[in-house]
Symmetry: D2
Subunit: 398 residues, 4 copies
């Protein structure tokens, strides 16, 4: 057992930390300058050029198409990016949902699909969205998916309504990865398929952007509600085989969840740093707030939660590398249960320590909180993961 | 001891519940139609006409100027208004911060001040803002107030910067009640004074609207940052006497806090109702979510928290009526500590039960949450109240 | 609505508070002097004589047989007794489980049964136990009861094993009220009957005393495990009719739960007082512990929890008096959910504030904690009450 | 980074797990057979012989005197022992407080001291106690220590009163390691010294055994209150130099805390296993309790807490091995804060899942709970560690 990062990781960490200090944090002040209603701030383009020039690009992607890092090597880097979540992941082309979509294309795409979409995504020329959740059903139960994907000659016809398709409002979004039912009477986990739908396909209508608390999350492409009415795509747009939809979604969710958790830990570190600085500066009732026992309790509680969360994420990454995503299933659930709520707790305390500034746009805290809170729902609500993890635990004693 | 509402209260409750059903809830769908950037939705005018016609107007104000209800009579009515907090309080002319400002004018205003501002406020023709919190200091400690109010001949000169002046962005806001230091070297609680500043006075600059978790809260007039640079008002604009600022602020905060808590309980009831309806309708893994034990735990926990919170608020109202705001000091602190966090817990569970819809604009829940969370900071953060309440408790045993 | 105690209550409170100060608290030092292994401390007899002489006797019992108080009148008295739970309730002949057993005899007993057992119980000459919980099944589900009560000619034959029969180890215990199944194939809530079994009846074997945490709870008669093997009692020992067992148990549990909650609030007040005194006296790192912010947080949190718990209990008592136990069903569940866990929280903080002394026999705190913790299980675990309360809430919206 | 145990650890784990299955768990039924009032159960001698024969002896002690394991190697072994905390640690001669006392003698003892006490301790012939906490002062602040150790010619004279000297009631206890003030006017952390006092020395009076939640903890030697009145020991009984007391105590507390935490994790695993088995076996309302969502929530929450706690302890052990106890100071505080409360939570849920059996002597759960709860106070209450950790964190940003 050994708790040191390897040399590759340390090298990347050093370069990434320098990049954050030199480029990302200074750019945060310009986050508000948006291109149109939903476009990213212009400063992002600049950051992307710098990042790429420094070899900080596509770090998330294992194998030949990306930087080739293991999950354990990538984890501490994703954490650092999480410290500035509206800029850093996108700047390094490591932002959800593109990361997950690129993984799917790299893993399940045909050569043509990879050339058509994976290459421009890896190159940062286009963005993409993942269309899974539906407004009308409890999407945590995959058998509830109501969107239909039906074969009709050489084409697939898609009908349904999706929402919270993150990135779908971005003017650069060109690809929609859509989950639907191709065989409603098939076995429970073979009913679903996944197709690649260009956003401009006739019948695709982006209805509106959903908000998360008061945020439109325009800086990461918003959350779109999208209607699919008799949308036809060539049969070659099927990702994997018919009936593979559930398995592909599962393959996507494992890394997706760990990336979320890694970044969340970075957000928690940021919040803790802001809290410590704030309470040192502010004076109430004759002494710095930092000397209040309750505030010290928050700080200690934050540090302990962060350390525990990070270790659990790192061990999960290590397991994914050594025994595979399937073997790490329980741990992936464990981090999905543990990390967002821990980070939510920490950010809440940092907000409280800032008073009114904490809920306002003058600190990143309220926005960080909204992200952490939303992830308690996204990719399956905590409750579903807890139930599943408990059942696995119970089986050990039968 | 008796836990029934009196006949006056029951009569108002009946009329108010009918008004909510017939007018307010149906109008919620039109909340999004705003007048300009910060104006209220046009439907509000309609609601105000209806409310007034039904005698549901200025219920908050005891004495001759208002409906003449006691705190105990008003409490259950404020709770009902809280069920639709963006519309109902304003519809009945019972919305903060106007309520508090009207109380101050009724209690401390000169006949001229009352004619000039109280009458149009009572009549619903103008709105107002309360300028206390400052961005640069910990405002929970009143001695930190940095804004200056200096006598210069027949005028007072105001210099300083305030923020989170709720209502200050509204196009109808005409009056700013401003707290500042008139005697920085005086005794701790005699350094402050309060002046009435028309928003159009030269030197007053509304800098921007602050957000709360992404929301601009435009429906209740936003939260303004306002700069006062050499702002001159006639000496007759002083509220009360010089040095009375702290005492007046205290007088305002007691009822203000209980009104907040009353409305919060209504918000919690609304969230619980939405949660119960949602989990009954949605099916996951073969049965309604309502049958999940964890969801039942949330519902039971919500009901128990609401009952306890309401009783504590009602007893506090009764104490304020019988022994005065000063005698109810501890209880006012207790509700400020207990109610917002309980309501936050409940709304959080309702959000979780709604999945993605819960954080979106499709339910009022995320907005309710933001209100509850913000009140853990507004009017003094929980921590200040807890410390003060503890010290009082400790004194009992010395 | 009115939150003052009536004159009768105030009169009793005054006398009871004086009795506590003059007799009960001073006697606590002699709690350790036990009569034999399980007998009460000799000082109890002395206290009982004093209490009776002052008219502080059988206060719990409404109607002609007792003091005739309402639940709302009795509640604040039970709270005061709870401040010294090992002595005061027994001193006033208001200790569980005798209280519940006397209620049953008064409500359902035949004249003969009342003469035979109610009179000596009211007179304090004998003690009793209630035999409901069984070691081998989940007793929260009444249909699980495995003990059999079978009619055989003029007698009933009891077979089964009960445990946690509180009071059953006391040398003064003469009556066992036993719940069992008389008609296992009857309708769900008509399968059970209740019989009165003299402890000396052949076939009754008291196996051992159960502990709660490390305590044998000898001061209130221990918790007995009792075996019933072919125990025969005359048919006239049946309480109520055959099949009435479940209904009688329910009748007993309502008042039983509220009495527990009333006393628990007194325990919380005691713990809070001890905490306040301790932290005022002790100095660490140069100042009294009372000045630590975290400790102040505990104190404020305790006071707020106590106020809310008390109000909910008082309202429940009022409801029981005005609409009956059945009409107060939800509220009785609510207090059972809310009060023990709140009190547990408070006592835990008081323990922590005392350091090692808090877990030891030198303060009553660890013992109080054990009581509060155990009541989260006794009379139905919290989880069963929460589920039931949630279902009732859900029905409101269907 | 690597999360596998090394070969040495794996070898020991395998042997220890076999020993637990073959000897320890079966012996638990005989725990109640005590030798006299405070002696260990006779079965312990048997277990010690078996353990020693298998080379499972003194595993805790690094260096030549013990098994020579690193902290990281010992951690998972201590965890396994913690599964049966009343038997396993003592069976392997790895029980507190002897472990800490042996570490001190190995690290600071003179050759004579080591021969006189370390050898019989390592051999398991005698037991020992550590006398630090005092009843009259807040012992978390070392400057509060009131016991005096005064030089008088060739002897030291000890006067004072200690309590919660764990192990001090054991008939086999022969050595008391006593902390006291030798130079009350010296620098804050040089005022204290430590002396080795044979329990039979004139002037030493063991007053009584303290309880922890009703338990006398006789199986691990009780918690003694000991009076020292003019107790004289030769100067050669001083451990280290005069004024070294604080430093020695600190040296002892680091490993002591991590050992506690390791064992606590084993207790949590035991509680979780018992909970899983129980809920699978018991049926309520027509289905196994294991299918209740709330129970599944407990199980998932337990598993996640255990994983996080274990990783934090292992990393701390690794840090102690690589950068020393001083370098691991923050992490040692972090585990002291995090682990006992997490384990307390888990055991509480296991108790609740067991109903009345959970609080009784029929399961080990109530006893495990008492241990976890007590460790939130022992070796410095959580609050002191949290404050210290927070201050360190705050210094990073100044």
């Amino acid at each position: 057992m050994d708790f040191t990062y390897d040399a590759v990781t340390e090298g990347y960490r050093e370069r990434l930390l320098a990049f954050m200090d030199e480029h990302v944090y200074p750019a945060e002040a310009r986050l508000g300058e948006r291109t149109g209603d939903w476009g990213p701030p212009p400063v992002l383009d600049e950051l992307r050029r710098h990042a790429r020039a420094r070899g900080l690009w596509n770090l998330f992607l294992p194998g030949e198409h990306g930087a080739g890092l293991t999950n354990l090597q990538y984890a501490p880097l994703a954490e650092i990016m999480g410290r500035s979540p509206s800029l850093a992941p996108a700047a390094l082309n490591c932002a959800a949902p593109d990361t997950g979509n690129m993984e799917l294309l790299a893993g399940f795409g045909t050569p043509w699909q990879r050339e058509r979409w994976l290459e421009p995504l890896l190159d940062g020329r286009i963005r993409s969205a993942f269309c899974m959740t539906e407004p009308d059903v409890a999407s945590s139960d995959a058998t509830n998916v109501a969107t239909r994907i039906e074969r009709d000659g050489d084409t697939y016809v898609v009908n349904g309504r999706k929402w919270f398709a993150t990135g779908g409002m971005s003017p650069h979004c060109e690809l929609l990865v859509v989950m639907g039912k191709s065989d409603p009477d098939g076995p429970r986990h073979r009913q679903q398929s996944m197709v690649l739908v260009p956003r401009g396909t006739p019948g695709v209508t982006v209805r509106r952007g959903l908000r998360s608390f008061g945020y439109d999350d325009g800086d990461h492409g918003g959350h779109a509600e999208i209607e699919f009415r008799d949308v036809r795509v060539p049969a070659g747009h099927l990702l994997g085989g018919e009936g593979d939809g559930f398995a592909i979604a599962q393959a996507r969710l494992g890394p997706g969840r760990i990336h979320h958790c890694m970044r969340l830990i970075g957000m928690a570190e940021r919040a803790l740093e802001l809290m410590c600085r704030r309470v040192t500066d502010r004076v109430a009732f004759g002494r710095p707030i930092a000397e209040q026992g309750v505030v010290q309790d928050w700080i200690a509680g934050s540090r302990v939660r962060i350390e525990q969360a990070r270790l659990l994420v790192l061990k999960t990454a290590w397991l994914m590398d050594t025994v595979g995503n399937q073997g790490a299933h329980t741990e992936i659930q464990a981090i999905k249960i543990a990390v967002p709520s821990a980070v939510e707790w920490i950010v809440d305390k940092a907000i409280q320590a800032h008073g009114a500034a904490g809920v306002s746009q003058d600190t990143p805290l309220a926005g960080l909180w909204s992200r952490a809170r939303t992830i308690r729902i996204a990719d399956g609500p905590d409750e579903v993961h807890r139930r599943s993890l408990a059942r696995r635990e119970l089986r050990r004693y039968r």
